[in-house]
């Protein structure tokens, strides 16, 4: 009797394991997908590679290398003559995302180089079509100032300025020496504004990291429109591959900021960039 029960239990366990294995085979792991994608790209089958890279992205895998390779896959499809509309924009998106996600300076440089090649091709095509070839816009002054140094550097500057301010205040209070008091006053006059400015920049940089949504234009015909979705007649098309800031969304439309230009484009024309994971 007991052996029969063991047999039934074993059968159930085996069935469960085999179904779980079958399920796992149906739904490949991120590593398997990444491997398939890289192999397909290496074998010169960019369409298969793109399918696997996009499946990887659909599963929520955020990885700088995979974003970089996805950009390469789209670029390779353009190279081999199988270009689909939007491939250049999607390639630019992959490289921009890799540049955003990685902390590896070598990968950052490679991504920047690849991005330059993609944007050069977009520029060449726009020049051929008689469109403006400016693919990057000057950022707003406040954004440019905040972007001068990395967020952590702003934090370090603010911390240093804070320490100097405190030391100067104590010195000025405790010392009886006239020279020391003057020195402390000068240090305080410099460090206090620096503390304020760097603190504000640190907060702004943190807010930008946490709340700013950016994307890349992935169509060759992203026509700027007003809030009602009516195309602005005199406006030039947003260039494919341009990095834009997404400031709003409404019923299939995205409000984007490109340099000083605020406009609406179809949501499908802009693909948002993933953000680096943080603790």
């Amino acid at each position: 009797m007991i052996s029969r029960r063991f047999a039934i239990a074993g059968f159930v366990l085996l069935a469960t394991l085999s179904s779980a294995r079958a399920f796992a085979q149906d739904d490949p792991s991120p590593d398997a997908l990444a491997h398939d994608a890289v192999e397909a790209l290496r074998a010169g089958h960019p369409a298969d590679a793109i399918a696997s890279f996009e499946a990887l992205a659909d599963r929520g895998v955020v990885d700088a290398n995979m974003s970089f390779d996805r950009g390469l896959a789209y670029a390779q499809r353009v190279r081999v003559g199988g270009e689909q509309p939007g491939d250049l924009g999607l390639a630019a998106h992959g490289f921009e995302e890799a540049r955003t996600l990685t902390s590896d300076s070598a990968l950052k440089d490679e991504s920047s180089n690849a991005l330059g090649i993609i944007r050069a091709e977009v520029g060449r095509r726009r020049a051929r079509a008689g469109s403006p070839i400016d693919l990057e816009q000057t950022p707003l002054l406040r954004d440019a100032v905040v972007a001068l140094v990395p967020e952590d550097s702003w934090c370090e500057i603010a911390l240093l300025a804070s320490l100097i301010s405190a030391a100067a205040l104590f010195l000025r209070w405790l010392t009886q020496s006239r020279r020391a008091q003057v020195g402390a006053g000068v240090a305080l006059a410099i460090s206090a504004p620096l503390l304020l400015a760097s603190g504000v920049c640190a907060v702004a940089a943190r807010n930008a990291r946490l709340h700013r949504v950016e994307g890349v234009v992935i169509t060759a015909s992203a026509r700027p429109s007003d809030a009602r979705g009516i195309a602005i007649p005199s406006a030039d098309l947003l260039p494919e591959g341009a990095r834009v800031r997404i400031v709003g969304a409404n019923a299939g439309w995205s409000e984007v900021r490109w340099g000083a230009l605020d406009t609406w484009v179809p949501a499908s024309a802009v693909r948002p960039l993933e953000k680096p994971p943080s603790d």
Binding site: P46, R79, G81, E151, D152, L159, S162, L169
Partner: protein, 633 residues
């Protein structure tokens, strides 16, 4: 010629005449119907009678039909009979079928009944009978008539079984059925579609009603949307014009029926207890294009004529909640909206070609659902796929959209060798099985012969995007970066450094204020007296009599201030004595204080140093006097 009729036959004929008396008003071959009341109260019963007369066989299959469900009818009570008449020596035989139904009024309203019976194989209709159901107690009283009782005459209008538990005659004529009569729902003349039943009409004469087969779907899944036009069959059919179609901008729309006027049969349905005709006028397969709550707008038309005059009718607005299919199990390359059940077959010809030549690839995708409208062939170097020619053979059959779509590609082979074209894979989501599948069409290998010229693909000068970096083999798996600004300690430190100065300086200032406060507290008269007493006691431990006497004097002065409210320093000693007495100090104590003060003054201003022992005695005496003062206060 004289006809002789046997006596038993005479009796039979007479009996037969009596039997058919209730149907005497019916014309030969006629079918007539009547009700014993045209207006009945809710919950009451009413009888409806059918009399069918035939010159041939007995009429059969009596039927009761109505356009309403407001009554429940009992099983028919049929009574066939035969009559023979002889007129001018001509004998005519006829048969009569009398049928009664008892109807129970279940709802308010008006019902029209048409009774049918088969006579010699032909279905013959009676005149219509209309009965109105009014609220209970509102119906006019009914006359107790028995017009069709064939036995009325026989018993002189008296029923011998009246009042008995079993009254065969009342059962025959159906007028006094038992209360527990088993009724059954009235069977309408036409089959009703329960799916089209509605609680109430949405308009008089005609109205529109829209339904969808599902309210939850995934992007690309077929949602079958139907619009029915309901028409009241009791009204003259109106005309319809000014048709505005439903808007479904968030869907890909495919027609499932012919929209022309008479393409669909009329169905019948119960609407608020009454039978209406319902005609399917629109049936679409709608494929959602995006996620969200997608709205299918209402259809509108104008009803012209009929009882309601000219009026607009609008169908319901339908909302469908659309999601993406699940991520789990989604195959690579799945395109949103590729939903259905597909198979793919490809035919590649020829398999041998010269470099630069073209081959034909015919891809056929068949199945049901949202069959893809474009296919991305697998690009590779040296293989140039031209834009395909697409031929559709899709339609809606049995309410499901499907068929096949054929893509004919011309492919230029620009590289010599055995070129493996790979396969065309079309991932799809099967909503019925809720699983993903992949329709695969392997393309196989094409042998491309060289023609002595360099490969077109070798001409790299024209290739764009030169100089791209090498691909990365593995996932980067970078650890999440902890930013300084995300650490609460950083902000605490940033703020605390300058504020530490504020804290230290402020603390020092606060301690100074605390000290001053304590000093002020110490300066109160009571504490000063304690201090003076302590000072005097301390002076008593020394050997300086003058110092001790001075301390005693100060102690006594402070004691008079505290205990009696008299500042003796501002008075002469004699005055002090009087003031103390006025303030309630005993005269002896006041005198003692005056003596002590006087003695202290004298001792302090003696030319010699004085006697310390005497001063100590004076101290003891002064302390005792202060105690006496405490009792006074």
């Amino acid at each position: 010629m004289r006809v002789t009729i046997p006596s038993f036959l005479r009796l039979f004929v007479a009996f037969a005449f009596l039997l058919v008396a209730r149907a005497s008003y019916a014309a030969p071959g006629d079918v007539r119907a009547a009700a014993d009341a045209t207006k009945v109260g809710m919950g009451e019963r009413v009888q409806i009678h059918l009399t069918a007369k035939s010159s041939g066989n007995i009429p059969t299959e009596p039927q009761l039909s109505s356009n309403s469900l407001i009554f429940e009818a009992s099983a028919p009570n049929a009574m066939p009979s035969q009559s023979i008449s002889i007129v001018n020596g001509q004998m005519t035989a006829s048969t009569v079928l009398s049928v009664d139904w008892t109807l129970l009024a279940k709802q308010l309203g008006t019902a029209t009944f048409t009774l049918r019976v088969k006579i010699n194989g032909t279905l013959v209709k009676s005149n219509p009978v209309t009965i109105t159901v009014v609220p209970a107690g509102k119906a006019p009283p009914r006359q107790p008539t028995r017009p069709t009782d064939p036995f009325g005459g026989m018993f002189g209008g008296q029923n011998p079984f009246a009042g008995q538990p079993f009254d065969p005659f009342s059962m025959l004529n159906g007028q006094a059925l038992p209360n527990d009569l088993q009724t059954m729902p009235l069977q309408p003349a036409v089959p009703l579609d329960p799916k089209l039943a509605l609680n109430a009409p949405r308009g008089a004469v005609a109205f529109l009603h829209a339904i969808s087969d599902k309210v939850n779907a995934v992007v690309g899944e077929q949602v079958t949307y139907s619009v029915y036009l309901y028409v009241d069959p009791d009204q003259r059919e109106p005309d319809f014009n000014d048709v505005h179609e439903s808007s479904a901008s968030d869907f890909l729309k495919q027609n499932l029926i012919d929209d022309s006027k008479d393409s669909q049969p009329v169905q019948y349905a119960s609407v608020g207890g009454k039978i209406w005709g319902a005609k399917l006028i629109r049936k679409w397969a709608l494929f959602p294009l995006k996620t969200g709550l997608l709205e299918i707008g209402s259809m509108r038309l104008a009803v012209v004529g009929g009882r309601g005059g000219n009026a607009a009718r609008t169908s319901d607005t339908v909302v469908v909640k659309v999601d993406e299919p699940p991520i789990t199990g989604r195959p690579p390359g799945y395109v949103s909206g590729s939903v259905g059940l597909f198979t793919a077959v490809a035919n590649v010809t020829p398999r041998d070609v010269e470099r630069g030549g073209g081959i034909s690839v015919d891809l056929s995708i068949s199945g049901t659902g949202n069959i893809p409208t474009n296919v991305t062939p697998p690009p590779q170097e040296g293989v140039d796929w031209l834009v395909p020619e697409v031929r559709d053979a899709v339609s809606g059959q049995s309410g499901v959209f499907g068929g096949s779509r054929n893509f004919s590609f011309i492919v230029h082979m620009n590289k010599a060798g055995a070129i493996d074209l790979g396969e065309i894979a079309i991932p799809y989501f099967d909503p019925a099985a809720k699983t993903y599948g992949v329709a695969r069409a392997p393309l196989g290998v094409v042998n491309v012969k060289g023609n002595g010229k360099p490969d077109v693909a070798d001409a790299h000068d024209e290739q764009p995007l030169q100089g791209l970096p090498a691909l990365k083999d593995t996932l980067a798996r970078e650890a999440p970066h902890k930013h300084l600004a995300d650490r609460p300690g950083f902000w605490a430190l940033l703020v605390l450094c300058p504020f530490s100065f504020v804290i230290v300086a402020g603390g020092r200032s606060a301690s100074r204020r605390l000290r001053d406060g304590l000093a002020f507290r110490r300066a109160s008269p009571e504490s000063l007296l304690s201090k003076r007493i302590a000072d005097a006691k301390n002076a008593g431990k020394l050997s300086d009599a003058r110092v001790l006497d001075a301390a005693i004097a100060k102690m006594i002065e402070q004691a008079t201030i505290v205990r009696a409210g008299v500042n003796v320093r501002a008075l002469t000693i004699d005055e002090a004595e009087d003031h103390l007495a006025v303030r309630g100090v005993k005269r002896e104590t006041a005198v003692e204080i005056a003596d002590l003060l006087r003695a202290c003054d004298e001792a302090r201003f003696l030319p010699d140093e004085g006697n310390i022992e005497i001063s100590r005695e004076r101290l003891a005496s002064a302390l005792a006097t202060i105690d006496d003062l405490r009792k006074v206060s």
